[in-house]
Amino acid sequence: MVAPILTVNGISKHFGGLKAVENVDFQVFPGEILGILGPNGAGKTVLFNMISGVYRPTEGTIDFRGERIEGLPSHLVARKGIGRTFQIVKPFTSLTVLQNVLVAKGIMKYGHLSRIWGPWGSRKDINEAKEILERVGLIELADRKAGLLPLGNLRRLEIARALVVGHTMLLLDESFSGLRHEEIGRLEALIRDIRDSGRTIILIEHNMRVTMRLCSRIIVLDHGRKIAEGEPKDIQKNELVIEAYLGRKGVLDVP
């Protein structure tokens, strides 16, 4: 069997009395797309924030390619090749779309006092950034101020930046939410394309159909706990999952 690329072991995050994430375990294998499902407030984003170093876990360990990364600050996690998007998009608004991607391209420089003085925006960097924009379909908007873009484009900009940083793994937090129908198909194709280029992806999604189609495995969180794990077809039939989504039963019926 292949060794996992990421192993999350008994991880918890408590905010005072609130157990946002409680004793969650899972593994991610190289080249797969793992889906994370769960109702609002289930702890999905908090889980991402622990992996990406925004929060230090209250308990538990995270192992990425044989190294412990829990509690490591965000910028060091990023430098290990883990890129992420934000559910509430966080563009650098006064920079252009291209410059947003260039900020990410600087990742190998920011850690070295000697490298940060070089001029940004060399021809090579710009070309590479444009390739990324081409790939996510934002090339026409390269010189537009990021603050002026509609949500759909901002979600793609988030992916573009994560793509630069995450040469090993990407964490996508609800990249589909707020997208129009025709945009969803394009984004699905893009995510498959990223997976096919050899990266591992974890994605948080509310859209069941998309999750079922894209992911090889799915874990489901509810009230901070993992209540199910398995292939999409098993998850669909899982009693606990159906209960967690009670009142929204129909959402699980995938054609």
Binding site: K109, I116, G118, W120
Partner: protein, 293 residues
């Protein structure tokens, strides 16, 4: 013929502009508020004075040490400061200013209330620098500082600063350490202030704790805000205007601090970008006038 009075005013303006450029790195580039910049201006002045008067070094030998000490103290004081919230940072930096001033005033080693006198003039090619030559020497240092700032705005570091100012969490996710970059800004800004302070000491030849009090910090900030925070030439323009105005309207001299503070409030309320920054009224009017011609 330039009067020596004009040269004095000009020299002081150029020296102050160097300090304001340093403040611009902290406030403009890194987006950190600092209301205690005069402390580092003073640290530069006192260090250079002590090294030359008491240790007998020349200005030129002392200079690298002065700049390094300015940067080092900036680093030490920046370390706890940048971890506090923005409004606390304002208070903390004011506190730093008062403490540093008090140390100068009450510790005998720093000359106590009398300050330090007999600071030698700078020697360059066997010439004692004063008057016009000294003015040009200061101008030379200002040019270097501006060049550094200009270079800086084109570097990866400045891109990182943009990112931190706008979205710190996203910047971190892109491999940028906000803490380190803010410290870098503190070190750059405070060492520029130290350079400025050193020139000041060797120009005045006598320094006193009062030269580096909190109102001086407010003055620096007003100059920066007037000229344009985060721009290359804003610090220079702001310093020139605020340096010349009180000379043209003598009564202003006595009310300098009141004037600076009022100006600061008015600018922040109506023209936060300053004369050279974004949405500048002056720039708008000028460009419209030129278009019409």
């Amino acid at each position: 013929m330039l009067s020596s009075y004009a040269i004095t005013i000009g020299t002081i303006i150029v020296i102050q502009a160097i300090a304001v450029c340093g403040l611009n790195v902290i406030v403009g580039f890194a987006g950190q508020i600092s209301l205690g910049h005069a402390a580092f201006f003073g640290i530069g002045a006192y260090t250079s004075a002590i090294l030359t008067v008491k240790a007998g070094l020349s200005f030129w030998t002392a200079l690298p040490i002065v700049i390094a000490i300015g940067g080092l103290i900036g680093l030490m004081l920046g370390l706890p400061s940048i971890r506090v919230r923005e409004d606390f940072l304002a208070i903390t930096t004011i506190g730093i200013n008062f403490i540093v001033e008090a140390l100068f005033r009450y510790i005998p080693f720093f000359g106590g209330a009398l300050g330090i006198g007999g600071i030698p003039r700078i020697m360059l090619f066997d010439i004692r620098m004063k008057g016009i030559p000294f003015f040009f020497l200061c101008l030379f240092f200002l040019c270097i500082v501006i060049l550094i700032c200009w270079w800086f705005t084109r570097s990866w570091a400045s891109l990182a600063f943009y990112a931190i100012r706008e979205e710190e969490t996203a910047a971190s996710a892109m491999g940028i350490s906000p803490v380190r970059f803010k410290l870098l800004a503190f070190v750059m800004g405070t060492s520029m202030a130290a350079l400025s302070g050193s020139l000041y000491a060797h120009y005045m030849q006598f320094i006193n704790a009062g030269d580096f009090s909190f109102p001086v910090s407010v003055g620096f900030l007003s100059m920066l805000v007037l000229g344009g925070i985060g721009t290359i030439w804003g610090p220079v323009i702001g310093t020139v205007i605020l340096g010349v105005l009180p000379e043209l309207f003598r009564p202003l001299v006595d009310y300098r601090i009141l004037f600076y503070t009022l100006l600061l409030l008015v600018m922040i309320r109506f023209q936060p970008g300053g004369l050279l920054g974004e949405k500048s009224l002056v720039k708008n009017i000028l460009s419209r006038t030129f278009k019409r011609c």
